[in-house]
């Protein structure tokens, strides 16, 4: 009777407590930082739409598309949070095959500028599967590393993880998309390092890879990639078609922004189209021109705060899978932030890596939303487990 009476109470209590715990464990800060970064991206899209002179809320405006993608990203985020991440472990291998399948599909049906096959058109929206592949790769790798907790010190774990990533890197290189393959490499390195893999072997293998760079340079890279990689050493505004022109113009945009910036929609480099690819790879130049040094510092701060929250999730995670997912996301964000901004301000080669959240582009945003959603799902479900 007591049991009978107690049951619903207990169930209700359990539900209330677990929902409450989940609520408490849900990382609101992480969400807010991500939303603020997306907000900055939308502000840049708005400014760009003003420059283009098309109606701001018209269907084809950058701003409208940014809004649509932000909405899709939100849905994906909420869905991923609600989804029990443990199913991912069950389906890790199918996910891996889906991952490679997507990359092969991009090769077959994709299209892009300059003979590359990065973009797949879905309902009139361009989607870059390689962005999604990064997140799926993080999940697959996390599953693998979590299952190898007993043998983290061994070379075989490192080689096994490498064997998972190399096909993806190779497929992305073939597109060809040098930037994404570098990001995949960074994810692999970051996850191995954070998961506790053997430092000795990591150091040796890193040495081997560095040693192989001259070979890769000579045999793998396309001429235009080499040219872009080198152009940052000697940017020149003389040839409007060249990579050096983009770089020189983006540095002018950044430098002329000054401390406070020229104000949203007031950047002459942006508004008068001197800045190439303002909303994609070079979006940071637009931030720096219109919002100034302070805007740039704001972006950095939000990224640092977000990465801090991700690392915190990793730290708190009792599940090595969660640690690895967080480590993968953090590595990806740090690498893309530094390489993208470094490229815009002329200290890194041009590699075509987007600035997460801010670069206009659905695939990047939706994929990160998926990754963060998975991380939140881990957060709140571990909290319940702890209770």
């Amino acid at each position: 009777m007591g049991v009978l009476r107690a049951e619903p109470v207990r169930v209700r209590e359990w539900t209330a407590r677990s929902v409450g715990a989940a609520w408490r464990a849900f990382d609101w800060q992480m969400t807010i930082f991500a939303v603020l970064l997306v907000g900055i991206g939308l502000a840049m899209a708005y400014s760009n739409s003003v420059a283009a002179g098309t109606p701001i809320l018209g269907l084809r405006s950058t701003f409208t598309r940014g809004l649509i993608w932000a909405a899709v990203g939100s849905v994906v985020y909420v869905g991923a949070v609600a989804f029990d991440y443990r199913w991912l472990k069950t389906f890790a291998w199918p996910l891996y095959l889906v991952n490679l399948g997507l990359l092969v599909a991009s090769m077959l049906i994709g299209n892009g500028q300059g003979g590359s096959a990065r973009w797949v058109s879905i309902l009139g929206f361009q989607f870059q599967f390689s962005e999604l592949a990064k997140i799926l790769m993080i999940v697959v790798l996390a599953n693998y590393l979590a299952s190898r907790q007993h043998a983290l010190d061994s070379l075989s774990t490192i080689l096994g993880a490498g064997a998972l990533v190399v096909p993806a890197i190779a497929l992305v290189m073939l597109q060809p998309d040098l930037g994404t393959s570098l990001v995949l490499g960074a994810i692999l390195a970051g996850m191995l390092f954070m998961s506790g893999a053997s430092l000795r072997w990591l150091a040796i293998l890193s040495g081997l890879i560095v040693g192989a760079i001259p070979f890769l340079w000579a045999n793998i890279l396309h001429d235009y990639q080499k040219q872009r990689l080198l152009s940052f050493l000697n940017p020149s505004a003389a040839d409007p078609q060249g990579a050096g022109y983009q770089l020189a113009q983006s540095q002018i945009a950044v430098g002329s922004g000054g401390l406070f910036g020229k104000g949203l929609t007031n950047g002459t480099q942006n508004q008068l189209d001197f800045l190439p690819v303002q909303t994609t790879d070079f979006v940071f130049a637009l931030v720096a021109e219109e919002l100034g040094f302070l805007g740039a510092v704001l972006v950095f701060s939000l990224f640092i705060a977000l990465i801090w929250r991700i690392l915190l999730s990793a730290w708190r995670s009792r599940d090595p899978f969660g640690l690895c997912v967080a480590a993968g996301l953090a590595s990806m964000l740090v690498f893309q932030l530094i390489v993208n901004v470094g490229m815009v301000i002329g200290v890194m080669p041009i590699t075509g890596i987007p600035l997460p959240f801010i670069t206009h582009g659905g695939a990047s945003l939706v994929s990160i939303a998926l990754g963060l959603g998975i991380l939140q799902s881990i957060n709140i479900r571990q909290a319940r487990a702890e209770w």
């Binding site: 954070m194 000054g258 480099q269 008068l272 001197f274 487990a385």
Partner: protein, 631 residues
């Protein structure tokens, strides 16, 4: 359910703390690196980059000044400015990959050859950022088409420019000239004076000689542009443009029309290819009319002449672009006897009443130097010799003077050097003397050459204007004036900036009496009947004919010849007074008419000028014939 997650928590954490810290440090180091660079770019060098951004988006653009106008001496407008559309290309804004496409499209719109456009772009004298003129004065519809297609035509711009409208076209083209695109060499010299690579510059006539007066001073403005080079707005006017001054010519359009009518009549009547008439006021050196036929329409140049039209002008063997009155030199023939006569009288090689025996010919070694009538005229004094234009008379007088004294007197009369008229490209003429012969041929002058020089043949050449100016000096008593076509310079408000002032080249060192003798002699040319019925005109005319051989002998040993007639009209009908205000020169190239066509031409002009009721033109003299020997 949660079991698989529960692993040994403690060891995992302890193993990873260092790695977490390391990861954080690497991330922060990376971000610090970026921040350092940002501090350099945005804080330390911000001004330099701001300047670069400014430079990016702004271009300095010249504001053309409005070019001065041109009026005739009565205030009639001859040259006006009208708005027109020009097409230009800024090569820096034309991506190389799209160039062929853009050029082809533009060529189709403008209906010109794409090769021409490419040539224009490639021969652009300025930098890649300077607009290149592709077409001038395109129709409004075409301009609109191109403006609408600006997205497909990067680097192409439509510019509204004032265009010169030469209201009388061919009538005054030789005097007014035209404006045209500046060429690379000229630009190099004039860039310091604010000339632009796509600028227009006076290329002929007073448009050229008074370029700096007409042009004014260009202003400068700062214009905002976008990355494709499209001009968006004027940001600041750095310097306002200053309009050019206007010209008031000495030319009287009415006289010009009459002179042109006379020349056209003569050319048509005798089938001539080139004709010249210049009318001058001997008291001031003012040119009242200056006709050189064939002529051209300077409006074609103002509209941007097509290559075909330009080739046609260049290929024309009678050189319509040349002002034959000043740009070419011809043997002056018997008109030159003025020089020989005045020189001999002043040097006292010939007395004023001295009689000289004239003959059919003079024998010099094996050569015979014939008089034109092949008979001689018996004993003649200077007036008779001049009136009948006796060659043997002047052979002897020239021999008495000697070649160097003859040359001295020729130079005193303005031969052998440009008169200095304010028109471009004046030919100097040739006055042979011992030194010239030595310098040119490395030989001494032969006595026969002195004979020839005395009658304006042989090496002697002169421009029509030189001949007229010499006779103007005769008519005014010995003052050689610099001929002028511009009377006054007016500022844009119409105030006189430079008033007219006659410019004396020199007072010819011969006595008033000598000039009077020669004026009487020139009158006798008319009264003796040498010029047929010219003496029947109800006005007093004095003058001198000339028949100047040139070129190659025909099968009968005859040379083609030019006809000259230079006349002046004493103001009150008394030729002894140096008061003439009207001197007229007629010149017909390669005339070969039965009589002197130039005399008939000048006669016709005088009839028109004085509005005479008689018409004494003698058509039979104008017939093309093998007349040879009449002087």
């Amino acid at each position: 359910m949660v079991a698989p997650l529960v692993v040994d928590r403690q060891p995992v954490r302890e193993r990873q703390l260092v790695r977490f810290l390391l990861f954080g440090v690497v991330a922060l180091l990376g971000v610090s690196g970026l921040l350092t660079r940002l501090v350099y770019l945005q804080l330390a060098s911000s001004q330099a980059y701001q300047a670069k951004a400014e430079q990016n988006r702004t271009v300095k653009q010249a504001i053309p000044s409005s070019r001065g106008l041109v009026y005739d001496r009565t205030g009639r407008l001859l040259v006006a400015n009208e708005p027109s559309y020009s097409v230009k290309i800024r090569p820096a804004d034309l991506p190389f990959s799209q160039r062929d496409q853009v050029v082809a499209r533009l060529a189709a719109l403008l209906a010109i050859d794409p090769a021409d456009i490419n040539t224009m772009i490639d021969s652009n004298p300025g930098s890649r950022f300077d607009p290149v003129r592709i077409a001038t004065d395109v129709p409004v519809a075409t301009a609109n088409f191109i403006a609408e297609e600006h997205l497909a035509l990067p680097g192409v711009e439509i510019v509204v420019e004032p265009k010169r409208n030469y209201l009388f076209g061919p009538l005054l083209a030789q005097v007014l000239g035209y404006t045209g695109a500046i060429d690379a060499d000229t630009l190099k010299q004039l860039q310091g004076q604010g000339y632009l690579p796509d600028d227009l510059i006076g290329r002929a006539g007073v448009e050229s000689t008074y370029e700096s007066t007409l042009r004014g001073v260009y202003g400068l403005e700062t214009v905002e542009r976008d990355a494709t080079g499209r001009r968006l707005q004027v940001l600041t006017t750095d310097r306002a443009a200053q309009a050019g001054d206007s010209l008031k010519l000495t030319i009287d359009t009415k006289e010009q029309l009459l002179a042109q009518k006379a020349v056209q009549w003569a050319m048509q009547k005798s089938g001539l290819k080139r004709g010249v008439m210049i009318v001058m006021n001997p008291q001031t050196g003012e040119i009242l009319a200056m006709v050189s036929l064939p002529t051209y329409d300077d409006n074609k140049f103002a509209q941007g002449i097509s290559r075909k039209d330009f080739q046609a002008l260049i290929a024309n063997r009678d050189h319509p672009l040349l002002n034959h009155g000043i740009n070419e030199q011809f043997p002056p023939g018997s008109t030159y006897k003025l020089v020989t006569g005045v020189g001999a009288l002043t040097d006292r090689k010939l007395g004023p009443d001295e009689l000289v025996q004239t003959r059919a010919y003079l024998q010099l070694g094996p050569d015979k130097f014939w008089d034109w009538n092949r008979a001689g005229f018996g004993l003649l004094d200077i007036k008779g010799g001049f009136a009948r234009s006796s060659d043997t008379f002047f052979y002897q007088v020239a021999a008495r003077l000697g070649i160097d004294r003859l040359a001295y007197w020729a130079r005193q009369f303005g031969f052998g050097a440009p008169t200095g008229i304010d028109l471009p490209g004046e030919a100097p003429g040739i006055v042979p003397d011992e030194r010239w012969k030595q310098d040119t041929f490395g030989q001494a002058i032969f006595p026969g050459e002195t004979f020839q020089a005395g009658i304006g043949q042989g090496y002697d050449t002169a421009t029509a204007l030189q001949v007229l100016d010499a006779y103007a000096a005769l008519a005014n008593g010995g003052r050689l004036y610099r001929p002028q076509v511009v009377r006054e310079i007016l500022d844009p408000e119409g105030n006189v900036v430079r008033a007219f002032r006659p410019q004396l080249i020199r007072k010819i060192p011969a006595s008033a009496a000598t000039f009077e003798i020669m004026r009487l002699a020139a009158r006798e040319v008319v009264t003796s009947g040498h010029t047929y019925n010219l003496r029947d005109l109800p006005i007093v005319v004095a003058g001198k004919t000339g028949t100047a051989e040139f070129g190659v002998r025909d099968s009968k040993g005859r040379l083609p010849f030019h006809n000259w007639f230079v006349a002046f009209v004493p103001k009150r009908g008394d030729v002894s007074k140096p008061d003439s205000e009207l001197a007229v020169l007629g010149f017909n190239y390669d005339a070969n008419t039965v009589g002197n066509s130039a005399t008939e031409m000048v006669k016709y002009y005088l009839q028109l000028h004085f509005n005479l009721k008689v018409d004494l033109r003698l058509d039979f003299l104008m017939a093309r014939g093998n007349f040879y020997g009449g002087n």
